[in-house]
Structure formats: structure tokens, C-alpha cells
Amino acid sequence: MTRGTVCLVALLAGAGSASADPESDRQALARYFEQRFPDVEVAAHIDGAYALNAQTREQWLAMEDFPPYEFSVDDGEVLFGASFKDGSGYQDCFGDGNVKAHFPYFDLKEQSVVTLELAINDCRVASGEEPLAYDGEDIALLSAYMAFTSRDSVIDIEVPPEGLAAYEEGKQYYYSRRGQLNFSCSHCHMQMSGMKLRAETLSATIGHVTHWPVYRLKWQEIGPLHRRFKECNEQVGAEGLEYQSETYRNLEYFLTYMSQGLPLNGPASRK
């Protein structure tokens, strides 16, 4: 191998590792939003669009006096406390349920990203129970309860070297244009964040994952993050993917790292 080839390989390897540095990505994104919204603290973005529009924030805070997700948390608590046929239960897998800060994580054995919903079903299957449907009500209720018990915990996930490829795939998905409208997630939630799309203010990327599952007035029920991913895809004319598909899990992994260090505040209500 010539010296020139060695240099080229070293340069390419350097470029590869530079593109896969989650902490640099997170800091760059935080700086982007600090510059875009100098009057809004980065941590305030956990409230989504309500951090950017005083008038809608006031309405939202009024709605939070009687939060529409309250019954979902109660119902989730009942499900969480129920025993499986073999006598075990969710507590054996998740303790008191305050575990959301460490999800999703990269499973070295499975070589894939494990979200909280996936872990709930893994817990069930390990005890001989049927997995829950990812688009069903029960899994949303369980995760609502677990989000509630995890409130105020700070997001603390890791991206090990083995998980970098999954993280990068999530990142690529976020920044790629798709659908007939030719929009990427970043077009709405970075370049146009704070601006109006019809009557709605577009939220910032940072803080996107802190408050799920969400009771959306549009849905009239509580639903998971992947439902919103699918809906966003369809809004730009792209085909939505299956809940908990590898692509959506990788996207959640990337977005969660972008909110690393922010407090969890789910479940929440949104329009």
C-alpha cells in the first residue's frame, strides 16, 4: 500500500468517526436552538411548541389543570400492578416503573435498539404472556404510567460503539427529505421551528421525546411516539412505517440522544 493510500484511508476513517459522534451532534443542535431562540432555555423545549408561543402556552397550562391523560395513568397503574399467569409481573422487570430515562438502549446481544414498548413486550414474553399490539391501548397505558413514574428523571442513555450505526441511521432518517412534499423532519423542526404551519407553531427537535406518550386532542386518546412519527411521514406524503419498526426505533434512539440531560415530563397533552 502506498503512503498516499494510507493517508486516504486514515482520512476516510477520520471522516467516518467524526460523523458518528453523538455528543458533538447534541451540542451542535443545542447551539443551533440557542442561537435561533436566544430567549428560550434549551431545557424549556421539553414543552414543545408551548415553549415558543406564549398564547398557546397559557391555554395549554389551563388544560393541564385537568389533564386529559390522567385516567390513562390510573388505568396504566392497574395494568402495571397486575400479575402474569406465572405469578411474576412488570415490577420484576421494571421495579417501580421509573426506568424511562434509560430508554431506548442498544442491546449488544440483539444488536438492535430496545425501546420501552419493546421491553414491555419482552417482559411479557419472558413470562409466557402474549405480546401486546404496538398500536393498541394497553401498551400506551402502561407506558403512560411508566412515563409518569419517571417524571423529572433526566434522560441518560448511552450510544456504545456497537450502537453507532443504529444512531447514524436514525440521524440520516431525520435529516433526509421524503414524501411528495419533499420535506425532512429537520425542515419543520429546525429550519421552520417556531414558525406557523397553518394555525400550529412548529416545535424544536430538542425535547421531542421527553413527554411521550401523549394525549392528543386530535386523536382523542393517548398514543405512542411512533404513531406521531407515522403521522408526520404521512403529512408530507411519505408512507408511514410500522410502529416499533427498526427504522423508527433508530429514529427514536437518535432523537433521545439529542435530548440527553433533559428531564422527562410525560405523559403530556397536545393539540
Partner: protein, 102 residues
Amino acid sequence: MKRFIALSSMLFVCLLAQANQLTMESVSEQILQAESLHQEARTVGHGWVVTLKLIEQAKAALADDQLIKADELSKRALGTALASVTQSIKEKRVWRSRKPSS
């Protein structure tokens, strides 16, 4: 008037000739091509909702013996499928330019 009749006759003959070129097979082939391209885009996460809709509509028109309509719809499906594949290829190259610089 004679000129009008002549022109109308020519137009009629042209339309008839065009319709004669269309066959169930040629339109079916067009639909298959659109489906194949759509699948190609879909496997890399770039499938478009409109393509699937147009393919379904083209198939329905074909099943209903509406050859001209099926032809038009399948051509549109082919166009959007091609655009979605182009999008997927281009995005592989340019997506990085959208992330904030470190």
C-alpha cells in the same frame, strides 16, 4: 365547413390510432413498472403515498376496461415512483448538509 370536417376526421383517426396502440398488456406493464419502482423506493424508506394510490386507481380503471384512464393513471404513478427513487438516491448524498455543523 369542409375544412372543419376534414380536420375533425383527422383528429378522430389520430385518437383512434392512439387508442389502438394501447393494450391491456402495455398498460399492465406500465403498472408493473410503477410497482417495481415504488417497491425500490419503499425498501429504503422513500415510498410515497400518492404512488400507491395512483397504482390502485390505475388497476381499478384497467379492471373496468377504461384503458385510456388506466394508461393516464399508470403514467402518473410511474412518474411519482421515479421521483421517489430519485429522491432516495439524492438524499443519500445530501442529507448531511442539513445537520448543524459541530
